[in-house]
Symmetry: C2
Subunit: 199 residues, 2 copies
Protein backbone atom coordinates (compact mmCIF):
# COMPACT_ATOMS: atom_id res chain seq x y z
CA UNK A 1 0.00 0.00 0.00
CA UNK A 2 1.18 3.51 -0.79
CA UNK A 3 1.86 6.16 1.84
CA UNK A 4 1.58 9.83 0.87
CA UNK A 5 3.37 12.51 2.87
CA UNK A 6 1.42 15.65 2.10
CA UNK A 7 -0.36 18.78 3.28
CA UNK A 8 -4.08 18.48 2.59
CA UNK A 9 -4.51 22.18 1.73
CA UNK A 10 -1.77 22.01 -0.96
CA UNK A 11 -2.83 21.61 -4.58
CA UNK A 12 0.36 19.73 -5.43
CA UNK A 13 -0.55 17.20 -2.72
CA UNK A 14 -4.21 17.14 -3.78
CA UNK A 15 -3.08 15.89 -7.22
CA UNK A 16 -1.70 12.71 -5.65
CA UNK A 17 -4.84 12.11 -3.57
CA UNK A 18 -7.03 12.58 -6.66
CA UNK A 19 -4.92 10.20 -8.76
CA UNK A 20 -4.98 7.47 -6.12
CA UNK A 21 -8.73 7.84 -5.63
CA UNK A 22 -9.50 7.92 -9.38
CA UNK A 23 -7.47 4.70 -9.72
CA UNK A 24 -9.14 3.11 -6.68
CA UNK A 25 -5.79 2.56 -4.98
CA UNK A 26 -5.59 2.17 -1.21
CA UNK A 27 -3.26 4.59 0.52
CA UNK A 28 -2.31 6.06 3.85
CA UNK A 29 -2.05 9.83 4.20
CA UNK A 30 0.61 11.24 6.51
CA UNK A 31 -0.15 14.91 7.12
CA UNK A 32 2.93 17.22 7.00
CA UNK A 33 2.63 20.91 7.89
CA UNK A 34 4.90 22.31 5.20
CA UNK A 35 3.93 25.92 5.97
CA UNK A 36 5.38 25.60 9.48
CA UNK A 37 8.60 23.71 8.86
CA UNK A 38 7.37 20.13 8.62
CA UNK A 39 9.41 19.54 5.46
CA UNK A 40 12.63 20.97 6.97
CA UNK A 41 13.13 18.50 9.82
CA UNK A 42 16.11 16.10 9.64
CA UNK A 43 13.66 13.19 9.46
CA UNK A 44 11.84 14.63 6.45
CA UNK A 45 15.02 15.73 4.66
CA UNK A 46 16.31 12.15 4.98
CA UNK A 47 13.28 11.09 2.92
CA UNK A 48 13.38 14.01 0.46
CA UNK A 49 16.55 16.15 0.44
CA UNK A 50 14.72 18.83 -1.56
CA UNK A 51 12.37 19.37 1.40
CA UNK A 52 9.02 19.37 -0.39
CA UNK A 53 5.68 17.58 -0.29
CA UNK A 54 4.03 15.58 -1.75
CA UNK A 55 6.25 12.57 -1.31
CA UNK A 56 5.12 9.05 -2.26
CA UNK A 57 6.44 6.09 -0.29
CA UNK A 58 5.94 3.46 -2.99
CA UNK A 59 7.70 0.66 -1.09
CA UNK A 60 9.00 0.44 2.46
CA UNK A 61 11.62 3.18 2.85
CA UNK A 62 11.60 4.10 -0.87
CA UNK A 63 10.37 7.53 -1.87
CA UNK A 64 9.38 9.45 -5.00
CA UNK A 65 9.02 13.27 -4.85
CA UNK A 66 7.63 15.78 -7.39
CA UNK A 67 3.85 15.75 -7.73
CA UNK A 68 3.84 15.38 -11.52
CA UNK A 69 6.41 12.57 -11.51
CA UNK A 70 4.23 10.78 -8.95
CA UNK A 71 1.20 11.19 -11.27
CA UNK A 72 3.19 9.63 -14.10
CA UNK A 73 4.41 6.76 -11.91
CA UNK A 74 0.88 5.93 -10.77
CA UNK A 75 -0.78 6.44 -14.16
CA UNK A 76 1.51 4.53 -16.53
CA UNK A 77 -0.43 1.56 -17.83
CA UNK A 78 -3.80 3.17 -17.03
CA UNK A 79 -6.06 5.34 -19.26
CA UNK A 80 -4.70 8.46 -17.55
CA UNK A 81 -1.39 8.08 -19.46
CA UNK A 82 -2.20 8.41 -23.18
CA UNK A 83 -1.45 5.56 -25.57
CA UNK A 84 -0.42 7.75 -28.50
CA UNK A 85 3.10 9.18 -28.72
CA UNK A 86 2.15 12.79 -29.40
CA UNK A 87 -0.57 12.77 -26.74
CA UNK A 88 2.01 11.57 -24.19
CA UNK A 89 4.29 14.47 -25.13
CA UNK A 90 1.31 16.85 -24.93
CA UNK A 91 0.53 15.57 -21.42
CA UNK A 92 4.08 16.37 -20.34
CA UNK A 93 3.99 19.69 -22.22
CA UNK A 94 1.05 20.81 -20.08
CA UNK A 95 2.52 19.38 -16.88
CA UNK A 96 5.74 21.34 -17.39
CA UNK A 97 3.60 24.40 -18.25
CA UNK A 98 1.79 23.82 -14.96
CA UNK A 99 4.96 23.73 -12.87
CA UNK A 100 6.72 26.63 -14.64
CA UNK A 101 4.05 29.04 -15.92
CA UNK A 102 0.99 28.37 -13.71
CA UNK A 103 1.80 27.04 -10.22
CA UNK A 104 4.50 29.66 -9.36
CA UNK A 105 1.86 32.38 -9.81
CA UNK A 106 -1.54 30.89 -8.94
CA UNK A 107 -0.40 28.62 -6.10
CA UNK A 108 1.86 31.29 -4.61
CA UNK A 109 -0.90 33.93 -4.76
CA UNK A 110 -3.24 31.45 -3.03
CA UNK A 111 -0.62 30.70 -0.37
CA UNK A 112 -0.20 34.42 0.36
CA UNK A 113 -3.97 35.01 0.50
CA UNK A 114 -4.80 31.90 2.51
CA UNK A 115 -1.89 31.28 4.86
CA UNK A 116 -0.18 34.63 5.52
CA UNK A 117 -1.55 37.44 7.72
CA UNK A 118 -3.37 40.27 5.93
CA UNK A 119 -0.54 42.74 6.64
CA UNK A 120 2.26 40.44 5.43
CA UNK A 121 4.83 42.18 3.16
CA UNK A 122 4.52 39.40 0.55
CA UNK A 123 1.12 40.92 -0.39
CA UNK A 124 3.21 43.30 -2.52
CA UNK A 125 3.84 40.38 -4.90
CA UNK A 126 0.13 39.93 -5.66
CA UNK A 127 -0.22 42.28 -8.68
CA UNK A 128 2.62 40.52 -10.53
CA UNK A 129 1.30 37.09 -9.51
CA UNK A 130 -2.21 37.96 -10.72
CA UNK A 131 -0.93 39.28 -14.05
CA UNK A 132 1.14 36.17 -14.77
CA UNK A 133 -1.51 33.80 -13.44
CA UNK A 134 -4.10 35.43 -15.69
CA UNK A 135 -1.74 34.90 -18.62
CA UNK A 136 -1.54 31.18 -17.76
CA UNK A 137 -5.34 30.94 -17.45
CA UNK A 138 -5.60 32.67 -20.84
CA UNK A 139 -3.32 30.06 -22.43
CA UNK A 140 -5.51 27.32 -20.93
CA UNK A 141 -8.70 29.09 -22.10
CA UNK A 142 -7.40 29.25 -25.66
CA UNK A 143 -6.60 25.52 -25.67
CA UNK A 144 -9.87 24.47 -24.02
CA UNK A 145 -11.92 26.57 -26.45
CA UNK A 146 -11.10 23.94 -29.08
CA UNK A 147 -10.34 20.80 -27.05
CA UNK A 148 -12.15 18.97 -24.23
CA UNK A 149 -8.95 17.98 -22.39
CA UNK A 150 -5.25 18.85 -22.42
CA UNK A 151 -3.72 15.75 -24.02
CA UNK A 152 -5.61 13.59 -26.47
CA UNK A 153 -9.36 13.12 -26.39
CA UNK A 154 -9.80 12.00 -22.81
CA UNK A 155 -8.85 12.96 -19.29
CA UNK A 156 -5.16 12.42 -18.51
CA UNK A 157 -2.66 13.25 -15.79
CA UNK A 158 -2.26 16.67 -17.44
CA UNK A 159 -5.86 17.47 -16.47
CA UNK A 160 -5.23 16.29 -12.90
CA UNK A 161 -2.09 18.44 -12.67
CA UNK A 162 -3.83 21.57 -13.98
CA UNK A 163 -7.07 21.05 -12.04
CA UNK A 164 -5.20 21.18 -8.72
CA UNK A 165 -4.59 24.92 -8.52
CA UNK A 166 -7.07 26.04 -11.20
CA UNK A 167 -10.32 24.97 -9.55
CA UNK A 168 -9.40 26.89 -6.38
CA UNK A 169 -7.87 29.92 -8.14
CA UNK A 170 -10.73 32.05 -6.81
CA UNK A 171 -9.12 31.74 -3.35
CA UNK A 172 -6.10 33.51 -4.84
CA UNK A 173 -8.15 36.38 -6.24
CA UNK A 174 -8.52 35.15 -9.83
CA UNK A 175 -11.90 35.58 -11.55
CA UNK A 176 -12.61 32.24 -13.19
CA UNK A 177 -15.80 33.63 -14.77
CA UNK A 178 -13.49 35.43 -17.20
CA UNK A 179 -12.42 31.98 -18.51
CA UNK A 180 -15.63 30.16 -19.50
CA UNK A 181 -13.94 27.23 -21.28
CA UNK A 182 -11.82 26.65 -18.17
CA UNK A 183 -14.97 26.68 -16.03
CA UNK A 184 -16.67 24.16 -18.35
CA UNK A 185 -13.60 21.91 -18.19
CA UNK A 186 -13.67 22.01 -14.37
CA UNK A 187 -17.35 21.04 -14.47
CA UNK A 188 -16.60 18.22 -16.91
CA UNK A 189 -13.89 16.82 -14.64
CA UNK A 190 -16.00 17.08 -11.49
CA UNK A 191 -19.11 15.69 -13.18
CA UNK A 192 -17.81 12.93 -15.43
CA UNK A 193 -14.60 11.89 -13.72
CA UNK A 194 -15.36 12.42 -10.05
CA UNK A 195 -12.69 14.99 -9.28
CA UNK A 196 -13.34 16.57 -5.92
CA UNK A 197 -12.29 20.03 -4.80
CA UNK A 198 -9.51 20.62 -2.34
CA UNK A 199 -10.61 21.05 1.27
CA UNK B 1 13.17 17.18 -40.70
CA UNK B 2 12.68 19.01 -37.42
CA UNK B 3 12.85 22.79 -37.07
CA UNK B 4 13.82 24.28 -33.71
CA UNK B 5 12.86 27.84 -32.81
CA UNK B 6 15.35 28.81 -30.14
CA UNK B 7 17.87 31.24 -28.74
CA UNK B 8 21.35 29.73 -28.88
CA UNK B 9 22.47 31.29 -25.59
CA UNK B 10 19.52 29.74 -23.70
CA UNK B 11 20.10 26.56 -21.73
CA UNK B 12 16.52 25.42 -22.29
CA UNK B 13 17.11 25.69 -26.04
CA UNK B 14 20.54 24.07 -25.76
CA UNK B 15 18.84 20.95 -24.36
CA UNK B 16 16.98 20.45 -27.64
CA UNK B 17 20.09 20.97 -29.74
CA UNK B 18 22.02 18.45 -27.61
CA UNK B 19 19.24 15.86 -27.83
CA UNK B 20 18.98 16.13 -31.62
CA UNK B 21 22.75 15.92 -32.02
CA UNK B 22 23.14 12.99 -29.60
CA UNK B 23 20.46 11.16 -31.60
CA UNK B 24 22.02 12.10 -34.94
CA UNK B 25 18.81 13.78 -36.13
CA UNK B 26 18.91 16.41 -38.84
CA UNK B 27 17.34 19.71 -37.92
CA UNK B 28 17.08 23.35 -38.88
CA UNK B 29 17.69 26.01 -36.25
CA UNK B 30 15.63 29.19 -36.42
CA UNK B 31 17.21 31.78 -34.11
CA UNK B 32 14.72 33.77 -31.99
CA UNK B 33 15.88 36.69 -29.82
CA UNK B 34 13.71 36.00 -26.78
CA UNK B 35 15.53 38.63 -24.66
CA UNK B 36 14.40 41.38 -27.05
CA UNK B 37 10.78 40.44 -27.73
CA UNK B 38 11.18 37.76 -30.40
CA UNK B 39 8.76 35.45 -28.57
CA UNK B 40 6.10 38.17 -28.17
CA UNK B 41 5.34 38.89 -31.83
CA UNK B 42 1.92 37.91 -33.22
CA UNK B 43 3.66 35.43 -35.55
CA UNK B 44 5.45 33.68 -32.68
CA UNK B 45 2.41 33.69 -30.38
CA UNK B 46 0.43 31.99 -33.14
CA UNK B 47 2.94 29.12 -32.92
CA UNK B 48 3.21 29.11 -29.10
CA UNK B 49 0.59 31.10 -27.17
CA UNK B 50 2.74 30.88 -24.02
CA UNK B 51 5.44 32.94 -25.79
CA UNK B 52 8.51 30.86 -24.97
CA UNK B 53 11.37 29.11 -26.70
CA UNK B 54 12.40 26.41 -27.42
CA UNK B 55 9.64 25.34 -29.75
CA UNK B 56 9.88 22.20 -31.90
CA UNK B 57 8.16 22.12 -35.28
CA UNK B 58 7.82 18.34 -35.54
CA UNK B 59 5.69 18.41 -38.72
CA UNK B 60 4.74 21.24 -41.05
CA UNK B 61 2.82 23.78 -38.99
CA UNK B 62 2.67 21.55 -35.88
CA UNK B 63 4.50 22.67 -32.78
CA UNK B 64 5.56 21.31 -29.40
CA UNK B 65 6.76 23.71 -26.66
CA UNK B 66 8.40 23.04 -23.25
CA UNK B 67 12.02 21.95 -23.44
CA UNK B 68 11.59 18.89 -21.24
CA UNK B 69 8.48 17.69 -23.11
CA UNK B 70 10.48 18.04 -26.34
CA UNK B 71 13.27 15.90 -24.83
CA UNK B 72 10.70 13.22 -23.96
CA UNK B 73 9.14 13.34 -27.44
CA UNK B 74 12.50 12.93 -29.15
CA UNK B 75 13.87 10.33 -26.73
CA UNK B 76 10.99 7.87 -26.41
CA UNK B 77 12.12 4.60 -27.99
CA UNK B 78 15.82 5.48 -27.63
CA UNK B 79 18.25 4.66 -24.78
CA UNK B 80 17.77 8.19 -23.40
CA UNK B 81 14.29 7.22 -22.10
CA UNK B 82 14.76 4.45 -19.54
CA UNK B 83 13.20 1.05 -20.02
CA UNK B 84 12.37 0.42 -16.40
CA UNK B 85 9.23 1.92 -14.81
CA UNK B 86 10.88 3.43 -11.74
CA UNK B 87 13.77 4.84 -13.77
CA UNK B 88 11.26 6.58 -16.06
CA UNK B 89 9.58 8.15 -13.04
CA UNK B 90 13.00 9.14 -11.68
CA UNK B 91 13.85 10.82 -15.00
CA UNK B 92 10.68 12.90 -14.75
CA UNK B 93 11.30 13.52 -11.03
CA UNK B 94 14.61 15.20 -11.87
CA UNK B 95 13.18 17.04 -14.89
CA UNK B 96 10.43 18.57 -12.76
CA UNK B 97 13.08 19.35 -10.11
CA UNK B 98 15.05 21.09 -12.86
CA UNK B 99 12.17 23.28 -13.97
CA UNK B 100 10.90 24.13 -10.46
CA UNK B 101 13.88 24.09 -8.08
CA UNK B 102 16.92 24.68 -10.32
CA UNK B 103 16.20 26.67 -13.52
CA UNK B 104 14.24 29.50 -11.85
CA UNK B 105 17.33 30.31 -9.75
CA UNK B 106 20.40 29.31 -11.77
CA UNK B 107 19.09 30.29 -15.21
CA UNK B 108 17.62 33.55 -13.94
CA UNK B 109 20.87 34.48 -12.15
CA UNK B 110 22.77 33.74 -15.36
CA UNK B 111 20.33 35.83 -17.39
CA UNK B 112 20.79 38.80 -15.03
CA UNK B 113 24.60 38.44 -15.05
CA UNK B 114 24.93 37.84 -18.78
CA UNK B 115 22.20 39.85 -20.49
CA UNK B 116 21.33 42.80 -18.22
CA UNK B 117 23.50 45.90 -17.67
CA UNK B 118 25.69 45.93 -14.56
CA UNK B 119 23.54 48.60 -12.87
CA UNK B 120 20.20 46.88 -13.54
CA UNK B 121 17.86 46.79 -10.50
CA UNK B 122 17.29 43.04 -10.93
CA UNK B 123 20.82 42.54 -9.53
CA UNK B 124 19.10 42.88 -6.14
CA UNK B 125 17.63 39.40 -6.73
CA UNK B 126 21.05 37.75 -6.93
CA UNK B 127 21.60 36.87 -3.23
CA UNK B 128 18.26 34.98 -3.08
CA UNK B 129 18.91 33.32 -6.46
CA UNK B 130 22.39 32.21 -5.37
CA UNK B 131 21.10 30.80 -2.09
CA UNK B 132 18.35 28.76 -3.75
CA UNK B 133 20.54 27.73 -6.67
CA UNK B 134 23.17 26.48 -4.23
CA UNK B 135 20.48 24.46 -2.49
CA UNK B 136 19.58 22.85 -5.83
CA UNK B 137 23.24 22.10 -6.59
CA UNK B 138 23.53 20.57 -3.12
CA UNK B 139 20.59 18.24 -3.81
CA UNK B 140 22.28 17.19 -7.06
CA UNK B 141 25.65 16.72 -5.31
CA UNK B 142 24.05 14.43 -2.73
CA UNK B 143 22.48 12.28 -5.44
CA UNK B 144 25.60 12.16 -7.63
CA UNK B 145 27.79 11.18 -4.68
CA UNK B 146 26.18 7.74 -4.87
CA UNK B 147 24.96 7.50 -8.47
CA UNK B 148 26.60 8.08 -11.86
CA UNK B 149 23.47 9.55 -13.50
CA UNK B 150 20.06 10.85 -12.44
CA UNK B 151 17.75 8.06 -13.59
CA UNK B 152 18.86 4.45 -13.82
CA UNK B 153 22.41 3.42 -14.60
CA UNK B 154 22.97 5.32 -17.82
CA UNK B 155 22.61 8.78 -19.30
CA UNK B 156 18.98 9.83 -19.83
CA UNK B 157 17.01 12.93 -20.73
CA UNK B 158 17.18 13.91 -17.04
CA UNK B 159 20.96 14.35 -17.44
CA UNK B 160 20.44 16.45 -20.57
CA UNK B 161 17.89 18.63 -18.78
CA UNK B 162 20.12 19.20 -15.76
CA UNK B 163 23.35 19.64 -17.74
CA UNK B 164 21.90 22.63 -19.60
CA UNK B 165 22.12 25.25 -16.85
CA UNK B 166 24.50 23.39 -14.52
CA UNK B 167 27.60 23.27 -16.71
CA UNK B 168 27.43 27.06 -17.24
CA UNK B 169 26.42 27.94 -13.66
CA UNK B 170 29.80 29.65 -13.23
CA UNK B 171 28.51 32.40 -15.54
CA UNK B 172 25.80 33.03 -12.95
CA UNK B 173 28.27 33.33 -10.06
CA UNK B 174 28.01 29.78 -8.69
CA UNK B 175 31.22 28.04 -7.59
CA UNK B 176 31.02 24.56 -9.09
CA UNK B 177 34.26 23.55 -7.35
CA UNK B 178 32.14 23.33 -4.18
CA UNK B 179 30.25 20.43 -5.83
CA UNK B 180 32.87 17.86 -6.86
CA UNK B 181 30.43 15.06 -7.74
CA UNK B 182 28.56 17.51 -10.00
CA UNK B 183 31.84 18.45 -11.68
CA UNK B 184 32.70 14.77 -12.23
CA UNK B 185 29.26 14.17 -13.74
CA UNK B 186 29.73 17.08 -16.14
CA UNK B 187 33.08 15.60 -17.18
CA UNK B 188 31.51 12.16 -17.65
CA UNK B 189 28.80 13.59 -19.91
CA UNK B 190 31.21 15.67 -21.97
CA UNK B 191 33.74 12.85 -22.22
CA UNK B 192 31.66 9.74 -22.72
CA UNK B 193 28.49 11.08 -24.28
CA UNK B 194 29.69 14.01 -26.36
CA UNK B 195 27.76 16.77 -24.63
CA UNK B 196 29.08 20.13 -25.69
CA UNK B 197 28.94 23.36 -23.72
CA UNK B 198 26.61 26.18 -24.60
CA UNK B 199 28.16 28.95 -26.67
Amino acid sequence: MYTVYGMSASGNCHKVRLMLELLGEEYQWHEVDSVNGGTRTPEFLAMNPNGKVPLLEFAAGRYLPESNAILFYLAEGTPFWPEERLARARALEWMFFEQYSHEPYIAVARMIMRFLPADHPRRAELPMLLERGNHALGVMERHLSGNPYFAGNDCSIADIALYAYTHCAGEAGFMLERFPAVQEWIGRLEGRHGFRPIR
